[in-house]
C-alpha cells in the first residue's frame, strides 16, 4: 500500500512513497513555479512525479510544450497527465519516460482504460475515478490485470466538481499576491452551501462542501487491486498518512472529527436511476399499424389527425392510445378535410378529421386496429 502526496515543505517526505511535484504552470492546483520547486528536487530521494494535469487549448499547449522542453525530465520518475494531448505528446516526443494517466473524469468502463493502456507502452499507473463503485472498480481492475499497471485512488481530499478555464471570481474579488482567489459559495438550491471555489491562472475550480474520504475502505480497496492511495488534504496530513500506514483508530477519529466527509459512490452509483422516470413511456410508438398523431381534439366536434404513415380509411377500425396509455377502439364513420369535404380516405402528410371521441387528447397516437 503506497502513499502518494503533493510535495510541500511541511510534508514529512520519509513517510510518503511517491511525491507529486506540481509546478503552477502545468498543474491545476500548483502554487509554486517550476523555477521555485526545481532547486529542491535533486536532493529528494523519493519517487517524484511531475504533475501536468491542466487541460490545454492549442495556445496553452504550445506554452506548456516549451516549458516541458526546458525541464530536466530525468529528475522525475514519471509524468502525470490528464489531457489526452499530453499523453500523446509524451508518447511521441518522450516515448521512454513512464507516464501516469489521470482517469478521474470520463473513464468508467474497461474498454476505455484498456485503450489507454494500449496507447502508451510506458504507462505505469491509472488514477481511477471516484464515480466507480467498488463492484465496478473490481471488474475493471481484474480485466486490466494483463497490463501490469498500478492503480491509484484519492484516499482523502477535496472533491473537484467543476473545472472552467474562465476567470469567474475576479470580477467580484481581488487576487492574493500569489494570483489566487478562494471563496465559499452557497447555491440557491438548499441545502447546498460551503462549496470552496478557487480561481488561479488556469481558471476556476469548485469543490464539494465535504471532502471525499475512503479511509474506512482502505483494506477493501487494496483487496480490489488499488495499490496507491493519494492524500490530497491539506489539513491533518501527518495523521492521515499515519492512519494509512498503521491504521491507528485514534488518528481516524481526529480526521473524522475535523470536518465532514462523504464516501460518494463507493458503495453504489445510482446516478442514472432518475432517467427512466424522466420519460413518458406512452409516447413510444409501436412498430406496426401506426397511422398518425392527434393534433387537436375539439369537444363534441372533431379529432384532427396528422397522418404520418398509412392512410386513414372510412369504415376501418382504428385504435387510439392516449398519452396516459388508455386505449380507445372505434370504427371510422366519417373522414373530412380542413375545408369540410368528406373523404373516403386520407393520404400521408395530410390533416384529417374524424368525429370527436371522449377521452382522446392531443398527442394521442392512432393505429390501424387490424394490424396493431
Amino acid at each position: 500500500m503506497k502513499i502518494v502526496a503533493n510535495y510541500s515543505q511541511s510534508l514529512d517526505i520519509d513517510k510518503v512513497d511517491e511525491l507529486l511535484i506540481c509546478p503552477n504552470e502545468l498543474s491545476r492546483h500548483g502554487v509554486a513555479s517550476y523555477e521555485e520547486l526545481a532547486p529542491a528536487l535533486k536532493s529528494i530521494n523519493k519517487r517524484k512525479v511531475l504533475v501536468w494535469d491542466i487541460l490545454m487549448v492549442q495556445k496553452d499547449f504550445e506554452y506548456a510544450q516549451k516549458l516541458i522542453e526546458n525541464i530536466d525530465l530525468s529528475l522525475f520518475d514519471s509524468i502525470r497527465v490528464q489531457d489526452l494531448g499530453a499523453l500523446e505528446y509524451m508518447r511521441v516526443e518522450h516515448p521512454n519516460i513512464p507516464v501516469q494517466f489521470n482517469a478521474e473524469t470520463g473513464f468508467h468502463n474497461t474498454k476505455s482504460l484498456v485503450a489507454i493502456c494500449q496507447s502508451h507502452r510506458k504507462l505505469e499507473k491509472i488514477i481511477v475515478s471516484l464515480e466507480l463503485s467498488k463492484d465496478k472498480l473490481k471488474e475493471i481492475i481484474q480485466e486490466l490485470s494483463p497490463y501490469s499497471i498500478h492503480f491509484e485512488i484519492m484516499a482523502i481530499g477535496p472533491l473537484l466538481l467543476f473545472y472552467s478555464p474562465r476567470n469567474l471570481l475576479s470580477p467580484h474579488f481581488n487576487k492574493s499576491a500569489e494570483g489566487i482567489i478562494s471563496v465559499n459559495g452557497k447555491s440557491e438550491e438548499t441545502p447546498h452551501k460551503g462549496f470552496r471555489i478557487t480561481e488561479n491562472r488556469h481558471g476556476t475550480f469548485m469543490f464539494h462542501p465535504k471532502d471525499h474520504s475512503l479511509l474506512d475502505y482502505l483494506d477493501e480497496l487494496k483487496t480490489l487491486g488499488v495499490d496507491h492511495f493519494r492524500v490530497d488534504s491539506t489539513e491533518l496530513v501527518a495523521q492521515t498518512i499515519n492512519f494509512i500506514k498503521f491504521r491507528n483508530s485514534s488518528d481516524l477519529e481526529v480526521i473524522k472529527k475535523s470536518k465532514p466527509h462523504i464516501k460518494g459512490y463507493f458503495n453504489v452509483n445510482k446516478s442514472d436511476a432518475l432517467f427512466t422516470r424522466l420519460k413518458n413511456k406512452h409516447f413510444i410508438k409501436k412498430e406496426d399499424g401506426f397511422i398518425g398523431e392527434v393534433l387537436s381534439s375539439q369537444k363534441e366536434s372533431y379529432i384532427a389527425i396528422k397522418i404520418l404513415k398509412e392512410g386513414l380509411v372510412k369504415g376501418a377500425p382504428i385504435k387510439i392510445v392516449t398519452p396516459e396509455g388508455k386505449e380507445k377502439r372505434v370504427l371510422i364513420k366519417k373522414i373530412w378535410n380542413s375545408r369540410g369535404d368528406e373523404l373516403s380516405g386520407s393520404e400521408k402528410g395530410s390533416l384529417a378529421y374524424i368525429d370527436y371521441i371522449k377521452g382522446v387528447s392531443k398527442r394521442s397516437f392512432v393505429y390501424n386496429n387490424a394490424t396493431s
Binding site: L84, G106, S187, E188, S271, D272, Q298, Y302, S338
Partner: protein, 395 residues
C-alpha cells in the same frame, strides 16, 4: 469549402422544422441512456427510421449522439443498438467515450465523430483521437478559430465547431456538480444545469450574489467567414432541448447566411443586422463570441438567473393550407383576433399575417384562440405546412 450547417433535432417535429429551414445535417438522440439529453423527448427506433428516410430524401445527413460517458453496463448494451443504427444507414455517430470508440471500430463501420464532451482542445489530442479511428472532431468550445485552423493543418482531420447556442461554463465533461448535488450523472444525460443557479459567494466578510458560473450564449454569425477560412467542415447549432421556434429560426438565419457565402457574395452589415434582429426574436441569453477570437473574458458571464431575452413567442405551426381560402394554425400560445402575426417561410423574408378573423374548424367565429386547438386564419400566399407562426411577446 462551405461548412455544413448542423442543426439539433430534439424530436421528429423539430427535425422536420430544421430540415425545412435549411439544415444540411441534423443530430439527434435515441430513447436510451446513450446521449446527454435524457430529458429531451428523443427518438424511438421507428422514429429514427423515419428521420433517416426523411433526411436522406432531402439530402440531409443524420448523426446520432452516443455521447455519454459509458459504464460497463451500457457498453454491453450498445452493440445491438449499433446494429440497428448501421442497418438504417445513419451517417455518423457522435461519441465522447474512448471505450465506445473502440467498440464501434471493432463492431461496425459507422463513421465516428468525437463529441465536444471529450474536450479535444489541441493538435496532439486531435492526433490521438484520429489514431483511434475518429473521422471528425467537434472541438471544445474553448478553442479559438485560429487555434482550430492550426489543429486542422497539423492533423488534417475534419473539424466541427459550435456556432450558436447555450454553452457549458466548465470544460465539457469536466463538471459533476449534478452528480453530487442532485444524484444525476451530468455525463450520462442528467445535467441539472447547476451552473445557471444563483450563488452567494463570500470571502472575508464580503458577500456577492450572482449567477457567476452562467455563460452567455454563443453567437458566431459575424465570424462565418473566419470559420470558413479556418477550414471548419461543420457548424453546429446547440439546442436539442429547445422548441421548434428556436430551432427553426436559428437554422434559417445561419442557412440564409451560408447561402450568401456560397454565392460568393459579401455578408454585408445590413444583412447581418437583419439576421441579428431575427436571432433576438427567439429566447436567448445575451450573446458572446466566447473564445472564438480570444479567450472568453468577464463579459462572457451572464449575470441573470433566467434566459429572459425574447422579443417573440411562437403561437403555433401551420397545420394546413387551403389555397386561396384559409390557413389552419395548430395553436401553441393564445392570440387574439386583430393581432398581427408573422410567418417564417422556409426561404426568404418573413410574411406578415393579420389575424383579422379567427374561425374554429366548424367555422364558428372566435375572439381569441386556445392552445391545443386548431384555428383558421385568412389566407396569404407562399405559406407551407410546418411554417412557424409567431407574434411579438407581451413583455
Amino acid at each position: 469549402m462551405i461548412p455544413e450547417l448542423l442543426a439539433p433535432a430534439g424530436n421528429l417535429e423539430k427535425l422536420k422544422v430544421v430540415v425545412s429551414y435549411g439544415a444540411d445535417a441534423v443530430y439527434l438522440g435515441g430513447k436510451n441512456q446513450f446521449g446527454l439529453r435524457a430529458a429531451s423527448e428523443n427518438f424511438t427506433e421507428e422514429e429514427l427510421l423515419e428521420a433517416v428516410h426523411l433526411c436522406h430524401q432531402n439530402n440531409v445527413k443524420v448523426y446520432v449522439v452516443l455521447n455519454s460517458f459509458f459504464h460497463n453496463k451500457e457498453i454491453h448494451q450498445l452493440p445491438l443498438y449499433l446494429d440497428f443504427l448501421e442497418s438504417i444507414k445513419v451517417d455518423a455517430v457522435i461519441v465522447s467515450d474512448l471505450g465506445v470508440v473502440e467498440l464501434i471500430n471493432s463492431h461496425c463501420s459507422i463513421p465516428i465523430h468525437l463529441s465536444t464532451q471529450s474536450s479535444c482542445l489541441n493538435s496532439y489530442s486531435a492526433q490521438f483521437w484520429k489514431s483511434r479511428g475518429v473521422e471528425r472532431i467537434v472541438l471544445g468550445r474553448e478553442v479559438s478559430l485560429d487555434e482550430a485552423q492550426k489543429i486542422r493543418e497539423q492533423t488534417d482531420i475534419e473539424l466541427e465547431m459550435f456556432v450558436h447556442g447555450s454553452m457549458c461554463m466548465a470544460y465539457s465533461g469536466n463538471c459533476v456538480i449534478s452528480n453530487y448535488t442532485s444524484g444525476r450523472d451530468s455525463n450520462r444525460g442528467g445535467c441539472a444545469h447547476s451552473c445557471r443557479f444563483e450563488y452567494e459567494l463570500e470571502d472575508n466578510g464580503k458577500k456577492v450574489t450572482d449567477t457567476f458560473m452562467s455563460s452567455k450564449d454563443l453567437f458566431g454569425l459575424r465570424l462565418l467567414k473566419q470559420y470558413q477560412k479556418a477550414g471548419i467542415a461543420s457548424l453546429k447549432i446547440e439546442g436539442r432541448n429547445k422548441g421548434p421556434l428556436y430551432a427553426g429560426t436559428i437554422t434559417k438565419v445561419y442557412s440564409d447566411a451560408l447561402k450568401v457565402i456560397k454565392k460568393g457574395e459579401e455578408l454585408t452589415e445590413k444583412l447581418i443586422e437583419q439576421w441579428e434582429d431575427e436571432l433576438k426574436k427567439v429566447s436567448h441569453r445575451d450573446y458572446t463570441e466566447a473564445s472564438l477570437v480570444q479567450k472568453a473574458s468577464n463579459d462572457s458571464i451572464y449575470h441573470q438567473r433566467e434566459e429572459s431575452n425574447r422579443e417573440y413567442d411562437v403561437v403555433g405551426l401551420v397545420a394546413d393550407v387551403v389555397e386561396n381560402e384559409f390557413i389552419v394554425i395548430e395553436v401553441r400560445k393564445k392570440f387574439q383576433k386583430g393581432e398581427t402575426l408573422e410567418v417564417l417561410p422556409f426561404n426568404g423574408p418573413i410574411h406578415e399575417l393579420m389575424a383579422s378573423q379567427l374561425l374554429l374548424m366548424d367555422s364558428q367565429e372566435i375572439e381569441f384562440t386556445n392552445p391545443g386547438g386548431l384555428v383558421k386564419v385568412p389566407y396569404i400566399p407562399n405559406i407551407a405546412v410546418n411554417n412557424i407562426v409567431r407574434k411579438r411577446a407581451n413583455i
